[in-house]
Amino acid sequence: MRATLSVKNLRTHFFTKEGVAKAVDGVDFDVAPGEILGLVGESGSGKTVTGFSILGLIDPPGRIVEGSSIRLNGEELTTAKAERLRSIRGAEIAMIFQDPMMTLNPVLRVDTQMIETVQAHLEVSRADALARSRAALVQVGIASPDERLRAYPHQFSGGMRQRVAIAIALLHRPKLIVADEPTTALDVTIQGQILFEAQRLCRESGTAMIWVTHDLAVVAGLADRIAVMYAGRIVEMGRTADVIERPMHPYTKGLIGSVPSQNTRGHRLAQIPGMTPSLLKLPAGCTFKARCPIAIGTCATMPALEEHRPGHWARCWRVAT
């Protein structure tokens, strides 16, 4: 079955006065229909920029460098015309942002913002668009949708706003949803609900989803596959169970070890020493070398992403099979 999204050698660089920031520097992955891929990394790892690159929303001074390929159901997006990209956005690929307070325009009503999304892609009457919006709100579990439609964004709670954002994403039954840390700004109970809803929707409608987050615990329960990013590259990728239970890359191991859980109670939390390198001055060789507990001489050269176990890839010289 053909992958919904196929990303090959994606490189997105920012050409600033201080130099070139290589936010994303050679990323490859596929997402199958109905599959949820968790894209995990710290801030500065390039995960958000990857998401925006897929939608073509990179503003100058950044741009997607030649040689990159992003295919949606076989169609190449990096060379698509602006108008084609516009019609894809919101309809075939939808995005959910991190902070719903900032993503909904505070001076426009919710129904206005939903109706315009519908009418941007379909020639329907306002009444039809309104009906569709209402149905989408019901779908995400919002009670009394008519009241909500007539309200302004600041009148909602954070969880409710995020549900509205999800509803907007679902208006055109997209083939792919890119969710950029959608639950980070919410408290844990709401987070759980939203995660559950998201999973259900993908299973039912065959929508592929990329869930971008820094929180490994969130994707552990949600995603089918996980890709771990560090300094603009994928350092580990595989089925969720594999990555969580048998991590291969020292960074992944560090991430898992630093999550507090039953097993770590009473022990000091493991920390990864050091900080993410500046994207303007990436070190030569393996970018994780400076913080890696098992770095050796060969780490002076950047390792390639290798499939050390079936379906489980890692970018490290020292993977014990």
Partner: protein, 332 residues
């Protein structure tokens, strides 16, 4: 809300009383209006007679009390020169000034807003840089200078050089039409011919401010998340700018336009002088130069009231445009 309005109105009354007292005292202390009105050969007897007739022989505080008493009844005295009630004169000339101010407001918005938004959307383009430099000129060049240049260009030089160029009148107001008891020249073609140059002159300062404000706000708004989200939804660029961006820009623009309207009416004094436009501004200048005290006082009273009303209207307008403000005030 009602309490707020009442409080503001009472403040306005207080300011008006203080202002009128100050001006009254000031004008009283200098200059003898009687000297302006009668010929220098008049005998002292005649002079005293005129003075008594106008009530100018009374001590100052009594004159002031007479004035206040009459003012409360709406009578601000008669203009020394014209013999007509001062307030009546003001109201007669008010429509002309308001017309001018209104036309200039429309022009400054219609030209300033698109230029400012454009400069915000493409800040590095040549067009944007020209617009911004032009805006500096717009608010720095004095009003009367601009009027002068416009007269020179459009009423003198161009018609002289190019015979087919229509000669725009350099003074006076055009034909008027009666509307609700007010004489307005907005609705006649001749009215517009006369209105055009003075309105453009008056609109330059505010237009420049609007351009700069629109550009600054546009640049603030464009990187906002909701603009990015609108793009992610697949909305067309024109919808994003025309609705999402513009609605956010309108709030500060409306506030500034409203507050600046008062300044515009004040600056109309100069424009009316340059173009001999028969509005209250010209009336004020003439009255000042000729020491026609009742008219000056009446003008001030009207202006202060106007300013207060304007401030109040702007506050209300703000709450209409920004739903966050409106709902908060209802909650409190």
């Amino acid at each position: 809300m009602l309490v707020y309005i009442i409080r503001r109105l009472m403040q306005a009354v207080l300011v008006m009383v203080v202002m009128s007292a100050l001006v009254f005292a000031g004008i009283y202390l200098i200059g003898d209006p009687v000297a302006m009105m009668i010929s220098p050969d008049a005998s002292d007897v005649e002079r005293d007679a005129v003075r008594a007739a106008l009530g100018l022989d009374q001590p100052m505080w009594r004159q002031y009390l007479v004035f206040v008493n009459a003012a409360v009844h709406g009578d601000f005295g008669k203009s020394f020169l014209a013999g007509q009630p001062a307030m009546g004169l003001i109201f007669e000339r008010l429509p002309a000034t308001l017309e001018l101010a209104f036309a200039s407001l429309v022009i400054s918005l219609a030209l300033g807003l698109p230029m400012g938004v454009y400069a915000g959307l493409r800040p590095k383009s040549i067009g944007a840089k020209t617009i911004m430099t032009g805006s500096i000129l717009g608010f720095s060049l004095p009003n009367f200078w601009v009027g002068l240049m416009l007269i020179m260009t459009f009423a003198v030089l161009l018609p002289d050089l190019l015979p087919w160029w229509p000669r725009l009148p350099a003074s006076g107001r055009g034909a008027t039409v009666d509307l609700l008891g007010l004489k307005l020249s907005l609705f006649t073609a001749d009215g517009w011919r006369h209105l055009l140059l003075p309105a453009i002159t008056l609109s330059l300062y505010k237009g420049a401010l609007i351009v700069r404000l629109a550009r600054a706000t546009a640049r603030e708004v464009l990187p906002m998340d909701y603009v990015k989200f609108a793009r992610a939804k697949g909305l067309s660029e024109s919808r994003i700018v025309g609705v999402h961006v513009l609605k956010n820009i309108m709030i500060p623009i409306a506030t500034v336009s409203g507050l600046e309207f008062g300044q515009t009416v004040a600056f109309a004094v100069v424009t009316e002088t340059v173009f001999s436009w028969p509005g209250v501004g010209k009336l004020l200048i003439d009255s000042i130069l000729l020491l026609d005290r009742p008219v000056v006082v009446a003008y001030l009273v009207v202006i202060v009231f106007f300013f207060v009303a304007l401030n109040l209207a702007v506050d209300l307008l703000y709450s209409v445009l920004d739903p966050r403000v409106r709902l908060e005030s209802r909650a409190s």
